[in-house]
């Protein structure tokens, strides 16, 4: 039996306490929150108990009941009742309370949501004569409820009244099993436990309350669909404070100053230095490289600038090393020429991706030599360098020492046959090239020989104690990603060994020591110094950034394979140099991004590389959006074309773009482009509070570099917005009486302000789109800086009377044909093929479920097949073939036709039509309510409205004509009719104006 638990998860307190209480024998395995232990659940569920039979239990309460039962105790009605109450009533309230207290820092008092459940529990206990919930003895119900309440009740500041409850809580908490479970999971710290915070952050953004339609929490939502008890969720104070903020307007808020180079640290400001791992110059970066470092760092740097921090973002190409030498030989250029050439390639790719470096430099500069040699001498003077004889692999055929990356062999640890000379890709262990079994030269495939030469080593063991002290401080106070901490921990735990810093090469920073004059620095020593030298090439006052740990906060962005160099090796160089260097405060490492179901591979031509992205015709902003949407935070993720199309079409086009476009359109169509007067009603105020809450959440997440999670907040806001418009129907109300018209104005005004806020929140992710929105809304320049100050200010930034610009669609649909052809072009793996009629090539099953476009594809193929088969039948008939032969072919034809009808959704069964992609004709009510959700529903709804309006207006025109009314009168009505028809076409995606069609959905 094996129990999987995760740190900081209060549910794990329950099961560990019960496990120890019962004394049942069981392995306990600690895993991280995102580990999917239970294979059939799509979301990670912990704790989980794996039984010997292979069955998984994933409900903490059932695990507890099971353990108790193994111990020979049957559960009674009353125990069951308490457990059910815990799961259905207490748990949602506790989660909500923890969210508020831990993540939002609210609450000096018992959170309101918990008052009911706590006093119910208190009363029940008071009515009993027993010391425990169900009996004289402690039962599973006591432990489960105690553990659920532990984080809250252990904090004395949150407890008020409920005497009996307090006594009971202390009584249960005295059990040894409870004490040790709390120690294991929450380090005995309750609410203050850092691990609890991490756990809560990892929970899918549970909306503030369970009653909300958009809440996507794992917690149960027990309100009827559509919500209705939203009131109990956002407290009155929260709504009031949202309204107050809203009323402030932009004027009260400080402006963010323009960037002025050179950017230097400033007293009294938050000075943030952002670096992204330096890409190696002679490889064109692939999408994984881009999302892993430069793009992630860019989003954070942009966000920091919006927040008013004093941010400097530097990066550059890493240019020294054998690989460059080789490439030069291949292309018949000098190493420097190769670097120049590829540096430009890199720079242009990042420019296309709109990565806004303050400076993008390179490592082959004079400054690099100066700084690297200075650090070297300081280390040397302080006795942190050792000399030793090194055995190196030398290829006699190539006449040179082989750099690690030019040797391949069998890993001495795990026997992986394709281990590199420095590291094994399989087990991740670092390898000395000479330790490889059966080494071969990657250039000529000869077996290299071992030769000795004298080298210098950085004495890591001597620096270990100092490193550990620093690590403890930095990881304790900074936002290190879990993988960064874990990789570092395992490195330090395995013990540090001296590391060679010199190499027998030409293309590198020369070692200044006379005894090693023919050598250069090894790239891992040299490359991170690039951050310093690149800054030095940006400004002579670089030391204000790099020798200023008091004022500067350093963020390093990288993929996880780079962690040890940034967390152990480079800090040791800097610590040993003893020159008050700025060391990393926040180490942000991503996992890997895969391509479809495989790895990116330049040699096999699999995957999209930086320079190809722009050839796809998909805008840079959309690439950024999708890469950030699947940023491998916490676990590997995979790029998939079909998914990209889905996300583009559902999130950007139908959710975000749709909302912003409608909000703007209403202003321009109904209110002559002037923001109408707003008289806020309760419903509007609640939207302000909801949006304000998501904004806070966004800031909270972004501050902790949870870039992917923060993006979801943006999408949540536009979902709220779409729903708000949908419920309030401003396009209908505008035609009503004065009250209705006023209502329509309020809803439009609030919506367009939400759109304006979204433009700012989007800026780090999609700079061009953000700019376009602001242009369309004619937003004052000050919005970009001010809305994100402090904990977020959702103010009315487009006040009454504000004149907006011309609104047009922001996004374009990605068609499935386009995606299919891109997929083929970039060699994405075709997932397994299923048996198909010979005439129809297997279309990708994933595409069918995900985009629906596949049905259209299939329909096309079937149409062809039907035509072909029809021809065959006609030919046979013409040849007067035998009846049975013809009959068989006719049967086939009919079968094909039937399949075609199905694929086209024309099956007699009406339910089938919903699988189709094309918009429903406006007259047929959409068959499935689910299909109408915020997404397409909006336009379908609108189309229906417009159809009615067109019919009505048409009738009017006919009547007028029949009455032989005046021409001008008729003319005016006809103009209206035409306008309505145009709108209808728009809503149906049939826009007559070709320029506009591109953004519309079909």
């Amino acid at each position: 039996m094996k129990l999987f638990v995760s740190d900081g998860n209060p549910h794990c307190v329950k099961v560990l306490a019960v496990l120890e209480f019962t004394g049942v024998k069981c392995d306990v395995k600690h895993v991280n929150h995102e580990e999917r232990v239970v294979p059939y659940l799509s979301r990670p569920a912990l704790p989980a108990l794996l039984l010997p039979s292979g069955t998984h239990l994933f409900s903490p309460n059932s695990i507890c009941q099971y353990l108790i039962e193994l111990n020979g105790q049957e559960s009674s009605d009353i125990v069951n009742q308490w457990l059910e109450w815990e799961a259905t009533e207490l748990q949602p309230a506790v989660m909500q309370a923890l969210h508020m207290v831990v993540l939002q820092g609210k609450g000096a008092d018992t959170p309101r949501v918990l008052r009911g459940p706590l006093s119910y529990l208190d009363q029940s206990l008071s009515q009993r004569t027993t010391p425990f919930l169900t009996a004289e003895m402690v039962s599973v119900a006591d432990v489960v409820l105690w553990a659920a309440l532990y984080p809250i009740l252990s904090d004395s500041s949150l407890v008020s009244g409920n005497q009996t409850l307090q006594l009971w809580f202390e009584r249960v908490g005295m059990l040894a099993a409870c004490v040790s479970a709390v120690q294991t999971v929450l380090q005995g710290k309750g609410l203050k436990a850092e691990s609890l915070k991490t756990y809560l952050q990892r929970q899918p953004t549970t909306h503030h309350g369970q009653g909300q339609v958009q809440g996507r929490g794992t917690q149960p939502c027990n309100s009827p669909e559509g919500g209705g008890d939203d009131d109990c969720v956002l407290s009155e104070e929260e709504i009031q404070s949202a309204v107050v903020t809203w009323g402030k307007g932009l004027t009260d808020l400080p402006m963010v100053p323009e960037r002025q180079h050179p950017i230097l640290p400033q007293e009294g400001k938050r000075n943030v230095l952002v670096t992204s791992a330096l890409p190696y110059v002679n490889n064109v970066p692939h999408l994984g490289n881009i999302i892993g470092c430069v793009l992630s760092a860019d989003v954070f740097a942009r966000y920091g600038r919006l927040r008013g921090w004093n941010v400097l973002y530097v990066c550059g190409t890493d240019e020294y090393g054998t690989a460059t030498e080789n490439k030069a030989r291949e292309e018949g250029l000098t190493a420097q020429q190769i670097c120049d050439k590829y540096h430009a390639v890199h720079a242009s790719i990042y420019q296309w991706f709109q990565v806004d470096f303050d400076f993008f430099g390179r490592t082959t500069t004079k400054k690099q030599t100066e700084i690297a040699q200075n650090i070297f001498w300081r280390l040397h003077e302080r006795g942190f360098l050792l000399e030793d004889i090194v055995e190196q692999l030398r290829c006699e055929a190539c006449q040179r020492f082989l750099a690690d990356r030019f040797v391949e062999g069998t890993c001495p640890f795990c026997s992986y046959p394709e281990a590199r000379g420095d590291q094994c890709d399989k087990c991740g262990k670092l390898i000395n090239a000479v330790e490889l079994r059966e080494p071969t030269c990657k250039v000529c495939s000869q077996t290299p020989v071992v030769q000795s030469s004298k080298h210098l080593f950085l004495d890591l063991p001597k620096l270990e104690a100092e490193l550990e002290q620093w690590l403890e401080r930095s990881t304790g106070s900074g936002d290190w990603t879990a993988n960064a901490k874990q990789i570092t921990r395992s490195w330090v735990r395995d013990g540090l060994k001296p590391r060679c810093i010199t190499r027998d090469l030409k293309w590198g920073t020369p070692v200044p020591h006379p005894d090693f004059s023919d050598k250069v620095f090894y790239v891992w020593f040299d490359a991170p110094i690039g951050y310093l030298s690149i800054t030095a090439n940006y400004t002579d006052q670089w030391e204000k950034w790099w020798k200023n740990p008091q004022q500067v906060e350093l963020y390093n962005f990288m993929a996880k394979d780079n962690v040890p160099f940034h967390s152990v090796v480079f800090p040791c160089s800097l610590l040993g140099a003893q020159d008050n260097y700025t060391l990393v405060n926040h180490l942000v490492a991503t996992e890997y991004l895969n391509y479809e179901d495989t790895k990116f591979s330049k040699s096999r031509g699999v995957g999209v590389f930086g320079d190809m992205a722009k050839d796809t015709g998909i805008p840079s902003d959309v690439w950024r959006f999708y890469l950030l949407y699947l940023r491998p935070e916490g676990q590997d993720s995979a790029f998939s074309w079909v998914d990209m199309a889905t996300k583009n079409n559902s999130e950007l086009l139908n959710n975000l773009g749709n909302f912003i476009n409608r909000a703007g359109m209403f202003v321009s169509k109904f209110f002559e482009s002037c923001v109408p007067a707003m008289a806020l009603q309760q419903e509007d105020k609640r939207l302000l509070a909801q949006v304000g809450w998501e904004l806070k959440q966004y800031i909270n997440l972004m501050d902790r570099v949870k870039i992917r999670d923060a993006l979801k907040c943006i999408l949540n806001i536009s979902r709220h917005g779409n729903q708000y418009i949908q419920v309030n129907e401003p396009w209908k109300k505008i035609k009503g009486d004065e009250t209705d018209r006023q209502r329509s104005g309020t809803v439009t005004g609030v919506s367009v302000n939400v759109a304006c806020l979204l433009s700012v929140m989007l800026q780090p992710y999609m700079p061009t789109v953000s700019h376009t929105i602001r242009q369309q809304l004619n937003a004052p320049p000050s919005v970009t800086g001010t809305l994100l100050q402090g904990t977020g200010n959702f103010v009315c930034s487009l006040p009454v009377g504000h004149h907006i610009g011309t609104v047009s669609p922001l996004f374009q649909k990605l068609e499935s044909e386009q995606i299919e052809s891109l997929k083929k072009r970039f060699g994405g793996q075709q997932p397994k093929t299923t048996a198909q009629p010979a005439t129809t090539p297997a279309s990708d099953p994933a595409a069918q479920t995900a985009v629906n476009g596949a049905d259209a594809e299939r329909a096309r193929e079937l149409t062809l097949a039907v035509a072909e088969q029809g021809e065959k039948v006609r030919t046979l008939k013409g040849q007067k073939a035998e009846k049975t032969v013809i009959g068989a072919e006719v049967t086939k034809l009919l079968e094909l036709k039937k399949q075609l009808s199905l694929a086209e959704g024309k099956d007699p069964e009406p339910v089938l039509t919903k699988g189709k992609t094309t918009a429903q004709p406006a007259t047929t009510p959409a068959s499935d309510p689910a299909a109408q959700t915020a997404v397409n529903g909006a336009d379908a709804e609108r189309a229906r409205e417009l159809t009615l309006a067109v019919a009505e207006q048409g009738e009017k025109v006919r009547t007028l004509k029949g009455q032989k009314a005046e021409k001008t009168v008729i003319g005016a009505e006809v103009t209206k009719l035409l306008e309505l028809k145009k709108q209808l076409s728009l809503a149906e995606g049939k826009d007559p104006e070709p320029v506009l069609t591109k953004g519309k959905k079909k």
Partner: protein, 173 residues
């Protein structure tokens, strides 16, 4: 709603005299008033109690392991399925579908109370599924069909038509 379920369950269990129920709170949690003890609160608690009253303990699972599995799915029903968001429905269907891939009933080969209550709780979702979706969640649909035809289960709910033949042969699994 849950009161109808409880009364259907009583019939399915063959309990002769119907109990009296009330509800409490906004969520209308069922309450069973009993003559010789304190009231019982909560759908799962009451349903479990009824099964014991009807002396059919096998419906709660035979071994300790089965009992835990049954309890787990009963909890799942009242915490995840009840009042779930539209967006979560897909996840629930998907998870149930992959869970049921190698099982006849929720607790394996044995029909239990978990099947009955899950059936009651998820019926409104299944009724609205298109043929194509039912095929997509094939294992779940098969389970649903089994349960709705299990003797005595389907009392207050209309039957859902499940096609035996696949319509969408192009096959997404």
């Amino acid at each position: 709603m849950s009161l109808k379920e409880l009364s259907s369950l009583e019939k399915a269990l063959g309990l002769k005299k119907p109990n009296k129920y009330s509800t409490q709170g906004d969520r209308k949690v069922p309450v069973l008033q009993s003559i010789n003890g304190p009231a019982l609160v909560g759908l799962v608690t009451i349903a479990t109690h009824l099964v014991q009253e009807a002396k059919q303990p096998e419906l709660l699972g035979g071994s300790a392991e089965h009992k835990a599995v049954v309890q787990q799915w009963l909890e799942y029903r009242v915490t995840k399925v009840d009042g779930c968001h539209k967006e979560d429905i897909k996840t629930i269907l998907k998870d149930l579908n992959s869970y049921l891939e190698d099982k006849v009933y929720l607790a394996g080969n044995q029909f239990t109370l978990a099947d009955t209550l899950m059936y009651y709780g998820i019926h409104h979702v299944i009724v609205d599924l298109a043929v194509q979706e039912k095929e997509k969640y094939m294992n779940m649909t098969r389970w649903f069909d089994h349960v709705q035809h299990y003797p005595g289960v389907r009392h207050h709910l209309p039957p859902v038509v499940v096609l035996r033949n696949r319509v969408y042969t192009s096959g997404h699994h």
